[in-house]
Symmetry: C2
Subunit: 235 residues, 2 copies
């Protein structure tokens, strides 16, 4: 049975990395003491080693050890043998570029389909959707495709941000951008606010955490769903 | 002689489209009464016709007529015959995708090199740099390349935005994003604030408008340049 957490962010304002999720994660990863970490998104361009170290510190609090996928000679084998996978945030384009370079997309899809628990935060959540066409990140590298895992039949917009009515900046709001996306694409987009996540168990996807989420469907007015709701019929 | 305006935005807060630039544009386009408009960036997904109409209204104020490139059977010929070109803002990925589909990148590069005045705003400015790796836009379509005109030997970041010290949102600031870009790329990035533009005359590039610009060079601390400064030695 599929077992996936798709979180808006790893860190909420004023908190430490993964802190708000740790209680949840100790249940989620209850069948393994070791997490395979995919550090490819490299926030602020930090190294795979440095990124893995910071995640190790967070998971140590719930008595889990962490190994970075870059520490393995064969990353595909590492995925196949993992009992729990975490892909952290950073730059979505850098992440996807590396996943394609190492030919890992299908391997991860298969293992997660077969039940390996997968946690994604931010960029690591973005790739749980159909494509990265709704990432917020700067396209600092050119990946060979924008297509991703499709664990859910829609796109994710992590760090969903409501419009700031006081802004004098002429850049587009997040809602404007997602509406633009729907001029060229038809799949739904789920905007997840920081502090909330989607929980996928088998075929059921439920919104968890403290905040509502905003749903954008093609040719419909956007609407809110409450935490605790199941996401039905989105495709 | 090359004659290019690379503007941060078409519209400043509280103003009308191109209003703050019109006086400048009536000099810039003094040798032509007709502007060829490239509406491919489709802000908010509006049609080429609707976008061209709004630009027509703005240029009418300085007695210029406007034709949209989509009105021509042969867009390459339209570029070659144009006496003045304007590419408006919208979504940079949508813009670049259409330019590649119509095989127009080299044609525009050549004509502008040979002296056709070119005005870009926002997405239309982004493509004046080496690549679109420093756009702020959402990647709602997947273009066949991120490489663009390279009228200047650096990348552009239009709508440059200073960090907001009061924000509690965990998304990256613009400066953080550009620093990340420099972990994977070495060309300089020029952040142009709304209300300012780069003027390229022959081989000389000068910052114009009301605000300073922020320069990001590989492996150097970012710094400000004052309006009126020439941009030397960036490459």
């Amino acid at each position: 049975m599929r077992n996936i957490i798709i979180a808006s962010t790893s860190t909420v304002h004023g908190g430490k990395p993964l802190e708000y999720l740790l209680e949840e994660l100790s249940i989620f990863f209850k069948n393994t003491s070791e997490i395979l970490f995919i550090p490819y998104a490299r926030p602020s361009g930090i190294t795979h080693d440095d990124y893995t170290e910071s995640v190790r510190l967070a998971f140590n609090k719930i008595d889990k050890t962490v190994k970075g996928i870059h520490e393995f000679a064969n990353p595909k084998e590492a995925i196949k043998e993992a009992k729990g996978i975490f892909t952290g945030g950073g730059n979505t384009f850098v992440l996807v570029n590396q996943l394609y370079k190492n030919d890992l997309i299908d391997t991860i899809k298969n293992e997660v389909k077969n039940g390996t628990p997968y946690l994604g935060t931010s960029a690591g959540s973005n790739i749980c959707g159909l494509t990265i066409n709704t990432t917020n990140d700067m396209p600092i590298v050119y990946p060979s495709s924008f297509k991703t895992f499709g664990f859910v039949p829609f796109n994710i917009n992590p760090h969903y941000l409501d419009p700031d009515p006081t802004s004098k900046h002429m850049g587009e709001t997040r809602e404007t951008r997602i509406k633009e996306f729907h001029k060229f694409n038809t799949q739904p987009v789920v905007g997840i606010r920081e502090g909330s996540w989607l929980e996928v168990k088998g075929d059921t996807t439920t919104l968890r955490g403290t905040l509502d989420a905003r749903i954008f469907e093609y040719d419909k007015a956007p609407y809110e769903i409450e935490t605790g709701s199941e996401l039905h019929g989105l495709k």
